[in-house]
Symmetry: C2
Subunit: 99 residues, 2 copies
DNA sequence: ACCTTTGTTCGTAATTTTACGAACAAAATG
DNA sequence: CATTTTGTTCGTAAAATTACGAACAAAGGT
């Protein structure tokens, strides 16, 4: 009854993405990026009532989960969805939710 | 820049569901329930290599997020998806992921 | 060169999550 | 009525999450 044998890789990947989506601020960022292709974190700092260090942490989590990526456009950083992983997330949730 | 004004209720609901889905064990349970309409937590205890108290905690979280519900069928408890909220989750993720 | 802008990292703190075993509760079964 | 089955709750501990401000780093503008 090894955990590796019971829970599939797909389930783990889906859970990983879900976890990253599991905070209102991160959900906000993802939804923004899925609607407008990219944004600067400065915009987010202005819009969201959280410290920039906190936002930075949330963006880092989204990056580590593979859902977004940042591109330096000095002195700013342009964030976009990571299209490949976004597609995977779409696929996994589609299957999972049967939609 | 009130948090309530920036982040929508939908985003908060979606994040709440995502958070509940954000653990492999809970993902496993949800996927099982979406595939077979119901199960007994005893079955889960046998399948999953975790303490029954831990499983109970995960089921409680899924219940509190509104994704599942338990029905007493003494001495067991039968778990099913909460169809209404599951539909809402489907809807929210469908919108969010654009699928 | 200096200053401003932009964003990360660090240090810290409070809270939440995850996990376990032991104890407990409820109810069926012998 | 004692025992077994089933699952929750409690106590505890370790780790992760969330949040902030201060300090720092990088690079563009003056």
């Amino acid at each position: 009854m090894n955990i590796e044998k019971v829970i599939t890789e797909k389930q783990k990947r889906a859970a990983r993405y879900a976890k990253a989506m599991g905070h209102p601020v991160r959900m906000y960022v993802l939804e923004l990026l899925s609607s407008q292709s990219c944004c600067y974190s400065g915009d987010l700092t202005e819009e969201l009532p959280i410290a920039k260090s906190t936002l930075s942490q949330h963006l880092k989590e989204l990056k580590e989960a593979g859902l977004i990526q940042g591109e330096i456009e000095a002195p700013k950083i342009k964030y976009c969805l990571n299209r490949e992983n976004w597609k995977e997330a779409q696929f996994l949730f589609k299957q999972f939710l049967r939609i």
